[in-house]
Amino acid sequence: MKIKKILIANRSEIAIRIARACREMGIKTVAVYSEIDRNSLHVRYMDEAYFIGASPASESYLRIDKIIKLAKKSGADAIHPGYGFLAENPEFVEECDKNGIIFIGPSRDSMYLLGNKTRARARMKAAGVPIVAGTIEPIKDYELLENEAEKIGYPIMLKAAAGGGGKGIRMVKSQAELKSAFDIATSEAKAAFGDDAVYIEKAIINPRHVEVQIARDNYGNVLWFPERECSIQRRHQKVLEESPSVAIDDNLRKRIGEAAAKAAEAAGYNSVGTVEFLLDEERNFYFLEVNTRLQVEHPVTEMVTGIDLVKLQIEIADNKAIELNQDDIKIQAHAIECRIYAEDPEKNFMPSPGKVVGLRTPGGIGVRNDNGVYEGAIIPLFYDPIIGKLITWGSDREQAIERMKRALSEYLIKGIKTTISFHQKVLNDKDFIEGNISTGFVNRLLETKAEPDRFYYDIAAISAAILSEFNRSRIAIGNTQSGISNWKSLAMKMGLR
């Protein structure tokens, strides 16, 4: 192994995920941290830690110059970007190359090719990977756009050519909506990606979002993994993922997997990555884009195949050949992931930064916790609200669902709001249980106002009243050592007597 020390240019749960793989592999880890992150878990977890700048990402985690400098200072052989931040920035890869540091991800050229959606569509079309009907060339001119839209037929999806992560995407149902959608989309794209080019695709009705994890090494060996079903999305962001998909049988699995492998080859890809597809109601699949990095949902694939994707990714970056054969990749039952966000599902998923004053994570059979926080951690407002991932494995989908409901019921995060209760709603929904899902699922679910659970309703009310009584009497008797604290000392006593 050439790689003996890795700088992890990220934070929170993904930084921990990568550092865990490194610790198991005997690789030393280097953390970088912004001002607010001095006390964050990734700093505590890694072998080394260096301050990198002020809290806003633009002054810290996005500073290529500082990160390269610290990698050299600390003697790191490689940099792992995680996801988000610099993970899909070809310029960062270039700087790593120039400085003789291994970038743990694909080559600069492959990343550059796939980073632009229209460029990627053209390449895939040439390679024979099915793409959604639509324009291949980026469009900047409204007249041209209108003509193309007419040819393709409404509804259409209007997308930023340079986009990614669900940003700059809107559906246009008729020509009447096209002009204003074009104006907004181009200005958004300009602001977000510095490029106002757009393109259009025919809108697929009730699509499923299905993706295929692939791995390809520097020697052209390629593997595809059983698909992930990622249709449960909110604002084009995934919230719950599973593998395999109920909509895909063995035959289709092989076809879509081989298409993904072909896409990886066509792009000269040389790392782990994900090929995203849309699946229409007739089970036709269409290439959407390639995520040239590890993904948040990678654990569901790890759970159903037993393969550590981060380890594999590091080995490929270390110029090792993939030792596994396609036949070694088998589905072992079913896995589900719930993304735990610091957001308030009762208030339109408003961010909920703050301090984690209490934390109890689920456990037991078939449960995996990928946390980025600990009791006492601060969730800053500067970064993504994801604070952890909860994954369950079951011998079938039903067991994985029941296990996830059980695990969520054990999860206790105090001090901030999280999406745990929202996930419970998803998992108890009849359509979800039956596998009748598409990318419109969450909006539909949010519209159905569920009654608060009568079973717990009275208990919650009574608890609030009793706690209120405590607070009140504490004030009344001016004694901070009132009732509850007495119980505590009583309990202590009981424990020792």
Binding site: A342, E343, P345, E346, K347, M350, P351, S352, P353, G354, V357, G358, R360, L381, F382, Y383, D384, P385, L408, S409, E410, Y411, L412, K414, G415, K417, I420, S421, H423, Q424, P452, D453, Y456, Y457, D458, I459, A460, A461, I462, S463, A464, A465, I466, L467, S468, E469, N471, R472, I484, W487, K488, A491
Partner: protein, 165 residues
């Protein structure tokens, strides 16, 4: 007597008696005998043989309660507080209202100035946190009497944003 509100429903709860960790509680005319004990982060209730573990965050009159991953935002008022609230309500919402932040964040833009007239639901301030923008709306028709924050300012939870009359 406590007035306990979950969602739109209000319930009256009376704590009749306490003996050690056991409380006799009346809710909607029904009696409950509740064994209520605490550990570090959470409480354990046994009510008529049924067992519940609850977690609670307390902020003022607001009790956020979790039971097995289900969430119940609850407000609790004493009788005195209830009377005060009722008398306030009688006065109506004609008076000036101060809008506070519900979460910490950065002020991205202040859309209105002191003296501007606003409609109910109109955006007055845009606040950003965790890469998401949130619009803070006017709660009523009226005039902006005061703006307490400025562009690019970082605010904490429950900070005053503006006053509308």
């Amino acid at each position: 007597m406590y007035y306990v509100k979950i969602g739109n429903k209000e319930k009256k709860i009376e704590i009749l008696e306490q003996s050690g960790t056991v409380f006799d509680v009346e809710l909607d005319g029904k009696l409950y005998r509740v064994d209520f004990v605490k550990a570090e982060n959470s409480y354990s209730l046994i009510v008529d043989g049924k067992s519940y573990e609850i977690d609670c965050n307390i902020a003022g009159n607001r009790y956020d309660i979790w039971i097995r991953g289900n969430y119940f935002p609850i407000s609790v008022l004493t009788e005195a507080q209830k009377r005060l609230q009722l008398s306030k309500k009688k006065k109506g919402t004609g008076g000036p209202q101060i809008v506070e932040t519900e979460m910490p964040g950065k002020i991205v833009s202040v859309k209105k100035n002191k003296g501007d007239t606003v409609k109910k639901g109109e955006t007055v301030i845009v606040l950003e946190a965790m890469k998401m923008q949130n619009e803070i709306l006017s709660p009523k028709d009226g005039t902006i009497e005061e703006i307490y924050v400025k562009d690019a300012q970082i605010v904490e939870a429950s900070e005053k944003l503006f006053k509308v009359k």
